[in-house]
Amino acid sequence: MGKFMVFLGRNGAGKSTFINIITGIIKPTSGSFKLLDEPSLKKVKHRIGVLPDYSTFYDSLTAIDHLKYYAKISGYKVSTEHCEYILKRVGLLEHAHKKAGKFSFGMKKKLGIAQAIIHNPDLIFLDEPTSGIDAESGLNIQKLIVNLQKEGKTIFMTSHNLHEVEKICTRIAIMKNGRILNEGTLEELRSHYMSSIHVDIKHSPFPQKELILKFLETVGRDIKTTENRTSLVVDSEEKIPLIIRAFTKHKIDIYRVNVHEPSLEEIFLNDNLDVVAK
């Protein structure tokens, strides 16, 4: 199983620039990097696949012509059957013999993904692979990306679609002003950026309301209670079992506990990002 890293950031954060530098589209002004344990990009070009942020193709060539051409440049000779298999994977098989000049934006995007994987690379860079694609195709592309990862490919992707990222990626890097602010799994980022967890409890009526309220004030804030419902905000998950134990101790039956964890969108829009950047 390969690794799957997503770069998140607002427009101008440096996500595409990062991919462009790593893949040789833009020349770095300084610094160095290693790809697949090699300090030189030249040596590993045949092992990487790239979908740049904007894909255009030769108008007079068909989808299959493009795939054969790009595979050959990468040093591989591929059969028509293999090209058709790749086009099927990206959902473009029915347009295999159509000239790229007649392709829509979404179809070009799919062809872009197909050319990135035609030579079976170990490492794949995808710059916003689902932007501009209809919902159904977007889901198919997401499935394809997940399958590629399962096949052992390592994938670097940029995206603005936070729901998509939340659903399919294993690691996230948040970028701002050309720097990676933080990197980790979604859980790690949640715990890093969010200090407010909303807890909502449905329970039997309080026998001694004052005592319970006194306790809740020690573990949380913004406490709101009705006869059989209590909501509050705690700063860590560890406080939740303490609350449940206290309720049980006071013989209050708990029917339901809802814990609202922050979504990636909430993390992404959080002002803490700016604080860390400083």
Binding site: T23, K27, H46, V50, P52, T56, S74
Partner: protein, 227 residues
């Protein structure tokens, strides 16, 4: 490199402009060869076997830059502006892209010139290898100039305009400096492929070295470009 070369070579044959230019070259070649045969027969003069190659050599020297510019002025910047270059640079080295594209155009012109000389051979009963070498030496420089311009200027519209102006001005300036006695400007003749073509003999080989120099300049400039 070979793949890019053949892609460029095939692309040139598909263009209508290419077909027109090839037709002009073949037409002039045939007409010149026919004219030479008539003149030598009627006037009983000996223009020598190379006389048959005069037509094609003239058209190459006078209009070569213009023809090449009209077909290949945007060989690099077209792909940069449409961003198809981004796919190429992630798959192969920039050096191979430049050399591949150069060789593709070179092969196209070699095919045209070679076929023209084959046509001449039917009339002259002699295949003029030296004539091909002379023309290809000159064309090599013209292609390299166009490639360098295409790397320097980012927009195809600019290279089209600049290429035409250069193609018209460069031959005139070259012949002026070659025949000038002014010491301050006559040194420029060493930088024009016309000089080595006119010197003849093995001097025509200098044009191949000249083309390699320009090609290396193109590679250096392209290596610095962001795409």
């Amino acid at each position: 490199m070979r793949t890019i070369c053949f892609h460029e070579f095939k692309g040139l044959f598909k263009s209508i402009k290419s077909i027109i230019i090839v037709a002009i070259i073949f037409g002039v070649t045939y007409w010149t060869a026919d004219l030479m045969t008539t003149i030598t027969d009627r006037l009983d003069v000996n223009t020598g076997k190379d006389g048959y190659a005069t037509g094609i050599a003239s058209i190459v020297f006078l209009l070569g830059f213009l023809f090449i510019s009209s077909l290949s002025h945007d060989v690099i910047n077209r792909e940069v502006s449409t961003r198809t270059m981004r796919f190429l640079v992630t798959k192969t080295s920039r050096v191979k892209i430049i050399i591949g594209k150069y060789l593709g155009i070179w092969l196209f012109w070699f095919f045209c010139i070679f076929t023209s000389f084959v046509l001449i051979a039917f009339v002259s009963k002699n295949f003029l290898w030296w004539g091909i070498l002379e023309c290809m030496g000159f064309i090599s420089v013209a292609i390299a100039y166009n490639l360098v311009f295409s790397v320097i200027f980012p927009k195809p519209a600019i290279t089209m305009f600049f290429g035409v102006v250069f193609a018209l001005a460069f031959p005139v300036l070259s012949f002026l400096v070659i025949h000038s006695n002014n010491v301050f400007i006559s040194w420029f003749k060493f930088f024009t492929p016309y000089y080595y073509a006119l010197l003849g003999d093995f001097y025509i080989l200098v044009n191949f070295v000249y083309a390699i120099g320009l090609l290396m300049l193109g590679i250096v400039l392209f290596n610095r470009r962001d795409l």
